[in-house]
Point group: C2
Chain length 167, copies 2
DNA sequence: GTTCAATCCTACCATCGCGGTCGGAGATCC
DNA sequence: GGATCTCCGACCGCGATGGTAGGATTGAAC
């Protein structure tokens, strides 16, 4: 598994905020509303949104009628920033700590075995592939995609579609 | 973390077999020798190599002087096969089970919330990026890379290399 | 100014997969 | 027969993940 549910829930939360941004301008959306709409645990979402706020991706207003809104427009938010805020560095492997100061990727096994880390090349390529895709994808794309998905699945699926009118 | 140590150890094991293939022709290499050379636990390697054998990537001969060798030449082995054998399907997310029979990627949250899975687009792109890089990389490249790394890290001390004594 | 709704923050906890071990049974060569 | 070596299944500690509990703080509405 590449990502944990932190990424899943966090991205989903960002998409929801992106929807709200388009719909209601500058009004803040409460976490409770998002949690109910997406069927996610509120308390857990609180911790996740804190990561996004610290990264400057969302802004918050406290108190009654408070909530969260995007700090930038969805088109200006790329997913590498989002994932980085949520998951920390995206590394293919534990030993793959990219040391920014030394700019050397060193593997713990490198010291043990006499030979260099044979897998380093592969992990670097994979990581590059992931980061590339993340950087290419904007939140706006995901928001649009969520509308299209909704339109595509709703009409032809009368069986299991629950309306989001919980509570 | 994208991959577990199964992938790390497994790839490393394949590289080692690739080295031996170039060096000694058709002689089988014992796991013990590889475990010692790479500083990896033998018992754990046994379970890992079993995955590679079941996938038809390595062949084994039992009994004394037995061991493992590559089923194909390093140039014919791409890393997507290797990783697939080791880790199972490379999925970005738990809910991302690509149903081969329905060929539909469905997310458990999709049923709950009225809307489609907003993150599906992102995960598909990321997975595509990973698989692309894996498929582009051959074992031969990693073997070559390991030689270059070895030469780079130990320029003037070829004797410190732990010889792979066949015990 | 009380109340209520919301963000914020810290601590806590259970489950589960990962990494690793152990013991033993079957091959095979000397 | 003994020495290796592959094979297989069971077992296990640990840490991260996912989730919960409780409360402090802020601010709008009444």
């Amino acid at each position: 598994m590449i990502f944990t549910t932190k990424a899943e829930y966090g991205v989903r939360l960002m998409v929801e905020l992106g929807r709200q941004a388009k719909a209601e301008g500058a009004v803040a959306t409460s976490l409770k509303a998002i949690a109910e709409a997406e069927g996610l645990p509120l308390a857990y979402l609180e911790r996740i949104v804190a990561l996004l706020r610290k990264a400057g991706l969302v802004e918050s207003t406290r108190g009654a009628h408070g909530g969260y809104r995007l700090a930038r427009t969805p088109g200006q938010i790329t997913m590498d920033d989002v994932i980085l805020a949520l998951e920390g560095a995206v590394a293919p492997m534990n030993c793959f700590v990219d040391d920014t100061d030394t700019s050397r990727v060193l593997c713990s096994h490198e010291a043990d075995s006499g030979r260099g880390c044979a897998t380093k090349l592969l992990w670097m390529r994979v990581q590059g592939g992931v980061m590339e895709k993340l950087a290419q994808t904007t939140l706006a794309e995901l928001v649009d995609f969520s509308y299209r998905e909704q339109a595509a699945t709703l009409p032809n699926d009368p069986t299991s579609r629950k309306p989001m009118t919980h509570a």
